[in-house]
């Protein structure tokens, strides 16, 4: 082994098989390239201004906001798995808990990173804390997400500190030992915060009385989209986690968790997806027949513009909602890895479509009688910046998988799972 490989091996836990240093470097290279390119695109936007994007006064939200919402919905697996393990005592999900934390950390930190490029004056981000507007859903989102990101970083800390070399530092290991005992507290707080910010992200659109396509009936101060977003987030979180673990197993060629764990994630996802589809169907019927017409917007009008016809609504609720729910709930399909993964992909697709519909389609649709239906295609700078987030996620996860005990020890004993 070369000297570099020997040093690299020292950071990998004893008894764990990982690919050679060279192979790992080759794996990381394209992702690092994508990250670098995306960072360059982000730099252009920060330096020259948001005119580098294809957003405009009518499409004030674009690819980035859609990406943020999607990524935060899928990162919901972090808090929800923690909630399931520590609060609902579903111990068999423990093996994927560390992975869930990494996925959550990557999703939220990536989303916050993109947001800092998306806003016109990133240095003013702290103004929301100084002049909070309690009527605004966005204030709630800001407070919750910043606190939750803090929690995710704290939850990642014990995983990090169990690296083979880092744990040789006594103070680090003792700290991890003590901190680990309090992780259930963080899991509970994380679940509380996540409930609110996943909901408020939905609330962002449900309160827009100026956009009847998005506006919904309210329960107290919260529009139905608040609750629908929470439901869809906890439905998609386990599915996305399942996909991540299945992908890692395929890429590394190793069996990392029992199949029953993935099936359980799928089952939970399926049940919640079913509830979500039912709730959304009722909500859609009320919106189409009561809410929207009451302000003079005929519902079928929304779907008069190709390619955003009513097929989108059908896809969202049936093809990418009801269908994967069935596949995930029925034992026969859930038992086959192929169907399980396919259903999880459909679930993620459905939630992505829902976020797309509420961000991009809302803005594309006309409001004034003499408005046009508008088109928007993201610029390469926008796509590259988002690509950087994906690359960042893959890199962080890859590094965590290689150097940290994400799945406990493969030798079978003491699967010490740090966090929730």
């Amino acid at each position: 082994m070369s000297d570099l490989a020997i040093v690299d091996r020292r950071f990998i836990a004893r008894g764990e098989e990982r690919s050679s240093t060279l192979k790992f470097a080759l794996w990381l290279t394209p992702w690092i390239a994508l990250l670098a390119f995306g960072l360059y695109a982000a730099f252009l936007c920060l330096y020259y201004g948001l005119n580098q994007t294809n957003m405009d006064n009518r499409f004030a939200f674009g690819l980035w906001i859609f990406a943020d919402l999607s990524v935060i919905a899928m990162g919901a697996g972090a808090f929800f798995t923690g909630f399931l393990v520590y609060i609902l005592k579903q111990e068999e999900l423990k093996p994927v808990l560390n992975s869930a934390v990494v996925v959550g950390l990557v999703c939220y930190s990536g989303a916050v990173g993109v947001l800092m490029v998306d806003v016109g004056q990133p240095l003013r981000a702290w103004f929301t804390f100084w002049h909070p507007n309690t009527h605004s859903m966005l204030t709630e989102v800001t407070f919750c997400i910043s606190t939750y990101l803090m929690i995710l970083i704290l939850e990642y800390l014990p995983v990090l500190l169990r690296n083979r070399q880092l744990q040789k530092i006594p103070s680090f290991l003792v700290f991890e030992h003590q901190f680990h005992k309090l992780v259930p507290v963080l899991a509970a707080v994380g679940a509380f915060l996540s409930f609110f910010h996943q909901g408020s992200l939905g609330g962002l659109y449900g309160v827009l009385r100026g956009r009847p396509f998005a506006f919904r009936e309210h329960f107290a101060i919260w529009p139905t989209t608040f609750f629908l977003f929470i439901l869809s987030a906890i439905a998609v979180g386990p599915s996305f986690l399942l996909l991540v673990v299945a992908t890692v197993e395929t890429v590394t060629g190793k069996k990392l968790v029992e199949e029953s764990v993935l099936r359980k994630l799928g089952f939970i996802s399926g049940i919640l997806l079913g509830v979500y589809v039912a709730a959304k169907s009722i909500d859609t019927i009320v919106w189409l027949n009561i809410t929207s017409p009451s302000v003079g917007f005929a519902p079928w009008e929304y779907y008069a513009y190709k390619p955003f016809g009513s097929a989108i609504l059908f896809s969202e609720i049936v093809l990418l909602g009801l269908l994967p729910a069935f596949l995930l709930i029925f034992p026969k399909t859930r038992a086959r890895r192929g169907w399980l993964v396919f259903a999880a992909v459909l679930t993620c697709g459905g939630v992505l479509l829902n976020r797309f519909v509420l961000t991009v389609q809302t803005l594309a649709l006309p409001t004034l009688a003499f408005d046009d239906f508008l088109k928007y295609i993201p610029s390469w700078q926008e796509v590259a910046t988002f690509g950087a987030v994906v690359a960042y996620g893959v890199i962080v996860y890859s590094l965590s998988y290689r150097y940290l005990p994400l799945f406990g020890h493969s030798k079978g004993e003491d699967k010490h799972v740090s966090v929730g």
Binding site: G15, Q165, F179
Partner: protein, 270 residues
């Protein structure tokens, strides 16, 4: 947020929202601060060594967790569930009462019946004045050879059982040698001296966890088997040769071997 900020109006909503947020933030910071506080108190009261050792032990593969009673032949196969902590093992009395079968071991490396051996390859010699001498056993010495550097603890400092006693550097690798018992350093020696450390124990000493007599031979034979498997040419089949003597300066003789693996297993480190 403050009275002098232009245009900001406090409402009930603000109080509710900011109170809840404040509580959440406080909880999060409190868990972090509490952990730091407990860490500091653990470090001060020397409980750190115990925590670190339990963590290291949990990461040892099963094949490196033989119960010491295997070596004396009292049990055929048992994996230690207790971090080699014979003092707090509820099976120890039962095992110790059993007769030890007369086994013939030929470990291929020297040891002494007068010394007490720790699983991390140090030996302990009780002195008449109640102090103890601690040294590195022949197995470890032959493995390492002539150290490049040795970092010994200061006179007057404390060592903890299963904590780190001293460090040896060889060929760019740092080896952390574990302490076989609790005590205070009275004097330090080194590779050129007959011992590495002279230690005054803390109060009454229970050394039942240390190996002595015929079981040492059984242990060293098991260690030699492990060594042979770990040092074999990569790709070859494992073979356990009987007989033969362990040669000194092994790290010099076999520079290409996976020494990180061998040393971790030998010195019970990560």
């Amino acid at each position: 947020m403050f009275p002098w900020v232009d245009g900001f109006h406090w409402t009930v909503m603000h109080v509710v929202f900011l109170t809840i947020f404040g509580l959440v933030l406080l909880t999060v910071l409190a868990t972090f601060a509490w952990s730091l506080f407990r860490t500091a108190s653990d470090l001060r009261s020397h409980r750190a060594a115990e925590v670190c050792w339990h963590n290291n032990f949990s990461q040892l593969p099963e094949a490196e967790r033989h119960c010491r009673h295997e070596f004396s032949g009292r049990v055929i196969h048992r994996v230690c569930p207790n971090a080699f902590d014979c003092q707090h093992c509820d099976m120890y009395e039962a095992f110790a009462a059993m007769p030890a079968p007369a086994l013939r071991h030929n470990p291929g490396v020297g040891y002494s019946d007068q010394l007490l051996y720790h699983r991390g390859h140090t030996w302990v010699q009780p002195n008449e004045d109640g102090t103890f001498a601690i040294g590195l056993d022949e197995f470890a010495q032959h493995l390492i050879g002539q150290p490049d550097a040795v970092k010994l603890p200061r006179k007057g400092s404390a060592i903890q059982h299963d904590g780190i006693a001293w460090r040896i550097t060889k060929n760019g690798r740092e080896i952390r040698v574990r302490a076989p018992l609790d005590g205070t350093i009275l004097a330090t020696g080194g590779p050129q001296s007959p011992w590495y450390l002279r230690v005054k124990p803390n109060g009454a000493v229970d050394l039942r966890h240390l190996l002595q007599g015929p079981e040492v031979a059984g242990w060293l034979e098991s260690e030699m088997d492990r060594l042979q498997i770990q040092l074999r040419t990569p790709g070859s089949e494992p073979a356990l040769a009987d007989g033969g003597m362990l040669m000194p300066e092994l790290m010099e003789a076999l520079p290409g071997a996976d020494w990180d693996e061998v040393l971790s297993a030998t010195f019970l480190d990560a």
